[in-house]
């Protein structure tokens, strides 16, 4: 069939043994690999419902000064509940830049 010298046979055996061990290791790694799962918090857990938030809730947030918090509540009392977050831009003192900072702090149920 084919003739290999003694040294060649040893080399072939070494390479094939390494391949078999490698296959076994790969299998063990696969079956023992842990499944990493992360629970992302819901909006309700980290955000505030802008239509239910009182002055204290708003003041607890970063980027909101007491004056701005008062203006938001004033707007809500006059215009009724916010229908979408974009409406925040209509509050005096909230421009495009501030809106982008604030939109991730609130949600509307």
């Amino acid at each position: 069939m084919f003739s290999l010298t003694q040294e060649e046979r040893k080399v072939v055996l070494f390479l094939l043994t390494t391949a078999l061990i490698g296959l076994g290791t790969s299998f063990l790694i696969k079956i023992n690999s842990p499944l990493k799962c992360m629970v992302l918090p819901n909006d309700t857990m980290v955000k505030i419902d802008i239509n239910k938030a009182n002055l204290e809730d708003l003041l607890a947030l970063q980027n909101i000064s007491p004056l701005l918090a008062k203006k938001i509540i004033e707007y809500r009392n006059l215009q009724g509940p916010f229908r979408n977050l974009e409406e925040l831009k209509e509050v005096k003192g909230i421009g495009e830049v501030r809106y982008h900072k604030l939109k991730d702090l609130f949600y509307i149920q």
Binding site: M1, L4, L13, L20, L35, L40, N42
Partner: protein, 472 residues
Amino acid sequence: MKSPLVIFAFVFSLGIALSGSIKIPLALAFLLAFLFLIFSFLTLHKSARFNIFICLFILTLGSTALINEKVLPKSHISKLITYRNTTPYMVTGYVLTPSTLKHNKSAFVLRARELQIGNLKYGTCGDILVYIDGDKNFSSAEQLIFSGNLYRPFSKNNLSKASYKDYLRNQGIYCIMKAKSYRRTLKANRGLSLKRFCLNLKEGTKKKTFPYLSGISQSIFSAMVLGERRNIPALLNSNMVKSGTVHILVVSGFNVGIVAFIVILFLKLFRLPRKIRLSLAIPCLIIYCFITGASTPVVRATVMAIIIIFGYLIKREADIYNSLAIAALFILLAHPGQLFDIGFQLSFMSVLSIICIYPRIRLFLRIGCLKSRYLKFLLDSLLVSFAAWAGTLWFIAYYFSIFSPITVFANLLIVPIATLITFCGFSIISAGVFFVPLTHYFALTFELLASLLININNSLIRFPWAYFNIRV
């Protein structure tokens, strides 16, 4: 027998084929492999017995490799998808292959890293085939987040007998995503840095050459020189399949040979010693392999070319059968499932039939005794084409349901033009880098040759009995 590696590659492939058709438990395959390994060690001093046991060991090793490849880790993306899922899946990963455009949908392979279902985020692995509406040309290794439906491929059969699900599994793809939207991540692009470098090189080449070429020539240039077939018009592709010359639109050993030739010739201009020229050709071939997407035919050709060059370097004549066997083992050890891939089968069968059938017919017809050099060259070309056609005939009939008697004659005309086109393509790249004013003239020649190729091919398939559609 001078080529033990041929036997090893054959036995290894047989082992893979065996476990592909018979369901063998991994533990049993492993145990048998281990037993045969022990016997091989015990019979180390007895030639005949050692040969038998080592072959049996390699056979079981092949089976074990395929079974192991099918074992998926717990975090594999296909294990995380559920049937009754109402929320869209969000997959974060990086683009692995260039996208192809079909029916106004872009398709590409994405290597998944994270999967988000509702508010659960999993660290995951595995490749998925992504479909997204429109012509999206994402650059490879680009990190993106896709949102949409994720499902396992169905086992329904297409026109040929191979199941689409099996076809995808052999590529290591277990899931398909119909993406509705996507966004880019802020993280840096992922992937092998050498691969990223090669892809940047590819993009740079396109920028330098595309302004000089028309739409159809751009697509032919991309396919034949850069290995990117996404823009080849469907009609041109189908016409080339009918004439049996579609292989010229795929980067293969032929292109790798041209690259090696160009590199060696270019370095000769600097009067570098032969050994240095050959040594420098090796990294160039590896880079070209990555540029073209490292498909099976290119990997085969690159491995074979490196072995042959290495043979020259150490002043040993490379055995073509051994080189082919090493290339097969190299691919199959990394991805045993490639044995069932049509690209692998066609690539290896065509080379095998050329090196087995061609010399025998040449000897039988006594072509070597012919006095006319031109007649000898013509008959040699015809025989090489015939040998490749005869070797791949059954595979093409099985997978594409087509039988093309015109193939041998078509290749005789098309292959020389394709050679000129490929040379011209590389000349355009060189001119684009070193001498820009020449690029325009090279591009015009390229256009002429491309149009000649298309017209000759179209004329050939209009011949009576040029091709037959068959059902196997």
